[in-house]
């Protein structure tokens, strides 16, 4: 898939575990795992907003396009 989700990179920078992030953004662990492993087909803006807020980053830090 051309869009890569760099969630694990940002989580490592902020030293945050998956379960900790899931509780902060109110998303299930399984959904976050789907996002982290690149299996997600789409992401809602509301979810992206919550992730950026929890990880204190920009959307561009989380999403990368490789043709």
């Amino acid at each position: 898939m051309p869009i890569i989700v760099n969630l694990d990179v940002m989580m490592a920078r902020r030293k945050m575990s998956l379960s900790e992030l899931a509780s902060k953004v109110d998303i299930t662990l399984s959904n976050l795992s789907i996002l982290k492993t690149g299996k997600a087909k789409a992401i809602r803006f509301s979810t992206l907003e919550k992730l950026c807020e929890a990880l204190n980053c920009q959307p561009a830090d989380l999403l990368e396009f490789t043709p």
């Binding site: 976050l32 996002l35 997600a40 087909k41 992401i43 809602r44």
Partner: protein, 203 residues
């Protein structure tokens, strides 16, 4: 009436009709087997409605009702043909009738399974699509069987009766249309599964 009530009602209705048809089929086949062993089906005949061509019969006059609002006449050239059960035509007719009953049982069994396996919360499943595909094929097969029966039974008739030329009275086309409509529903359900999976993978 909400959807759940209608769904539950249809599930019960199809289950009842399915078991009823199974009992009818068992009785039909059982009676025929018993008759075969008793007298070899010598006294049994199978009746079919046929149209006679090249007959010299004329149209009968209309009969009117007392108020003259309705008139009626016997249908010209319509006959009932009875074939002996222990003849080739009779054995063929028995096999075709068993096949039609079998197709009916298969259709009802698939409907019963669809209603058992479907949950209204999550109707788009691979099992339902498989059952719908089988249903579509069964509907088309029943009309193809009618066409084959029409061609073969006419041969049997013409072998025994050269004049008038008899043709079996039959209708087909509605089951093929039903099968095609069911196939359209299959396509819609396949799209439903795709949308369900995309929704599940939307975070």
């Amino acid at each position: 009436m909400n959807g759940q009530f209608i769904f539950s009602f249809l599930r019960v209705a199809f289950t009842v009709v399915y078991y009823f048809l199974v009992v009818v089929a068992i009785i039909f086949v059982g009676v025929k087997i018993m008759q075969f062993f008793q007298d070899g089906l010598k006294s049994e005949r199978y009746r079919s409605e046929v149209i006679g061509f090249e007959t010299a019969s004329k149209d009968q006059p209309f009969t009117y009702s007392i108020d003259s609002l309705v008139r009626y006449q016997p249908v010209k050239d319509r006959y009932t043909a009875e074939v002996k059960a222990d003849s080739a035509a009779g054995i063929y007719t028995f096999i075709v009738r068993v096949l039609f009953i079998g197709l009916g049982i298969a259709v009802l069994w698939n409907f019963k399974k669809i209603f058992e396996q479907t949950k209204l919360d999550d109707p788009f499943t691979v099992q339902v699509i498989k059952r719908l595909k089988v249903l579509a094929i069964l509907f088309v097969a029943s009309d193809l069987l009618k066409i084959a029966d029409y061609l073969l039974f006419n041969r049997f008739l013409q072998h025994s009766v050269q004049s008038p030329r008899f043709k079996l009275v039959t209708e087909f086309g509605d089951s093929i249309i039903t099968g095609l409509i069911v196939w359209i529903i299959v396509i819609i359900f396949q799209r439903g599964i795709t949308l369900k999976e995309e929704n599940a993978l939307t975070v």
